[in-house]
Symmetry: C2
Amino acid sequence: MNVAVLSGGVGGARFLRGVVAVIGSDNVSIVGNVADDIEVLGLRVSPDLDSILYTLAGLADEERGWGRAGETWQALETVAQLGGESWFRLGDRDIGLHLVRTELLRSRVPLSEATERLAHALGLGARLLPATDDPLRTFVETPEGTFPFQTWFVARGHRDEVDAVHYAGSPDATAAPGVLEALGAADVILIAPSNPYVSIGPILAVDEIREALERRTVPCVAVSPLIGGRAVKGPADRMLLRIAGGTSPAHVASCYAGLIDALVIDEADVPADAPVRLVVTRTLMTDLEAARRLAAAALDAAGAPA
Amino acid sequence: MNVAVLSGGVGGARFLRGVVAVIGSDNVSIVGNVADDIEVLGLRVSPDLDSILYTLAGLADEERGWGRAGETWQALETVAQLGGESWFRLGDRDIGLHLVRTELLRSRVPLSEATERLAHALGLGARLLPATDDPLRTFVETPEGTFPFQTWFVARGHRDEVDAVHYAGSPDATAAPGVLEALGAADVILIAPSNPYVSIGPILAVDEIREALERRTVPCVAVSPLIGGRAVKGPADRMLLRIAGGTSPAHVASCYAGLIDALVIDEADVPADAPVRLVVTRTLMTDLEAARRLAAAALDAAGAPA
């Protein structure tokens, strides 16, 4: 069975670990968000792809919730001491990966191929594909102005309310090599419990990918990132409240209108009316076993043998 | 008293610490070699300027003899793991500095200004000037071919004998801002105990700098990098033997023909005939006190009150 998963960063990565635990890594293709990517200190950083890489390779810092285990911060401390740009937290090991990726991109290797090489070097079994090799960047409109995603998210601590999100570059962005093939070959398509606006939204802003989901002949199941209407971490709940008008399963499902057949929600969320089938389970991924159970529930909701 | 010092990396840096110990840092201007600079992993590395920065800021690793104390290697280990370019040893703290410098250069700040900012941030009293802001790179001709300096020095372990050295870019290279002023304002000019071919040679390959030394009205004293005809470290002795025909003080002095008034040599070197006055002392800089004594001897040889 081939499974394709649309995924953002940390939460998506944990879910993916569950998916791999259920069906093995060989038949899993991941379409990762790249609209959070940022060039900082001359380094091309792909936070969501890296969260997935580190998590699936067993290198992630489980306690901190992002970045690599055993990480040190000597380079960034030096940068700060020298008056350089140090607001974006880059660890030494993380910088090593960014140096390699940036060099590959500078020598005109596309992001998809660079990602494949990194994934191979880290021994990933699952196939990790950036949604697009084209420049695609999330901007958020807030009462304080419009900001690039990371400026809002990291530098401003995502305190500004978000009125709208847009994806610069989306009209020209095409799916990266392998993405449409993976979606076409999938027996099940899953949408990870990631932020619908800033993690999954940019992936769906690539017309070819959205169209592939619209045309799908296989089940597509999303997992809600909310528990009891609240985000486990991050601003998804506040964004849904302000942009979609609420945080119920129906509001989450509305983000994926026409694209999903079922939405997996937490027991804490009132299963109110929703335009798609709701599947209730426990969605908090406290550990690998919880992630595995959630993945199994999502696959089951898609009618796949778990 | 103003002192200007032409200097390469590690040995030069130790000597400079002695100079600063003798006359204080405020009146010391350093003209540093940049022809060993290299772009590696997209980072602009200036090994000689950095050895001077780290040494004068008290950040150098005395035991290893290069780089920073308390250094770690997590980024480079990651680079190696991911199949990136890892032959050039870059520590995490070192990378922090390179990231800042590279960003400044990318935003069109000249190397001289970038160096000034780094030196200021590290609290350097002495003025550190790159010889030139222009591209100037040392190449060595060997029986195995012509190599960029760092390829020969690091990647090939400077095992190939050197038949000749040339400095790509030297015809067009002009002195960096401040260099000619520093040489013009100097009461004494010193040449540090650095490799005459690959450390001091490239500085003198900048016509304006060589002409400033030729036109000088103040004493110029060089310190030989050899002890008993042998380099303390590195290939200076083998290069002198093959290119100049020997490793005597006369051979060292010949590298600076017309540019120096005296050469400070070690007690172990036979004070044979030489075209300049020879001053014999102990030149091995085992510690700061030894470096201070050597600097005092060089200043004394220049007739300066120590």
